[in-house]
Amino acid sequence: MSISEILFYFLSVLALGSALMVVISRNPVHSVLWLIVTFFAISGHYIMMNAQFLGIVNLIVYAGAIMVLFLFVIMLMNLNAETEPKKNKWLRMAGIVAGGCLLLVLVAALKDADVKNSAVQLNSGNIGLIEQLGKTLFTEYVVPFEISSVLFLSAMVGTVVIGKKGD
């Protein structure tokens, strides 16, 4: 077993376990903290695949900015106690069964797919580095890039309009 495989299994178990804890935790603050652990594990996967730019951006944007926003909102609403009321047991069971069935169907569909001898390149290749990504982003994908700036502007205006007090 090579060091890459050991790292892969470690990061996968970490991601899956903390993702489960996000769903299971009663306290929303604990859920946010477990989600940050999940994002760290996924960033570890990115760095293992030599997608260094995405690994760092994932940490800065998701774990750094979005999760802090979530924490702020939870603290603002005073939800850090266990306020969620008991839900119907059968409804919860139905949700778990539905999710499990989806997992089963997708994994079963994978069985017939032709993916047996397609390896993922680990620890090498330079498409994940900033140089290549930046060149492609600012030549081939420059129009979507500019459109995304318009999207941000409209999201900003929308947030201010929705969050405004009064009327």
């Binding site: 769903v23 929303p28 900015a65 909102v73 997992l103 994978l110 001898n117």
Partner: protein
């Protein structure tokens, strides 16, 4: 590393997210589960991008780079989505003093 392992990992993360959306009632946790699903898809896109890079690097030195740029754009859209969604949740809390999504069924009245 075979691509199969990454596909199974992403499917499992995605299904955990789906289960969370279906079983929880707290709007913020539902929102976090949606982020989890987005990240599962991102991981799969990067894995496929590296797979195609390994296959097509001889013909095209930047083969498979599109997948990683899509991940970048997904992150952009997710950030915009989070800002608007959290504003809506704050607004909802201000009106009904709860983030329980079951209270939203009074929208129909």
């Amino acid at each position: 590393m075979n691509i199969e392992y990454y596909i199974v990992l992403s499917i499992a993360l995605f299904c955990i997210g789906i289960t969370g959306v279906l079983t929880r009632r707290n709007a913020i946790i539902i929102f976090m589960c949606i982020e989890l699903m987005l990240n599962a898809v991102n991981l799969l896109l990067v894995a496929f991008s590296k797979m195609h890079h390994l296959k097509g690097v001889a013909a095209n030195p930047t083969a498979g780079i599109d997948g990683q740029l899509f991940v970048f754009f997904i992150m952009v859209v997710a950030a915009a989505e989070v800002s608007v969604g959290l504003a809506i949740i704050v607004m909802m809390y201000r009106n009904v003093h709860s983030v329980d999504v079951n209270f939203l069924n009074r929208l129909k009245h």
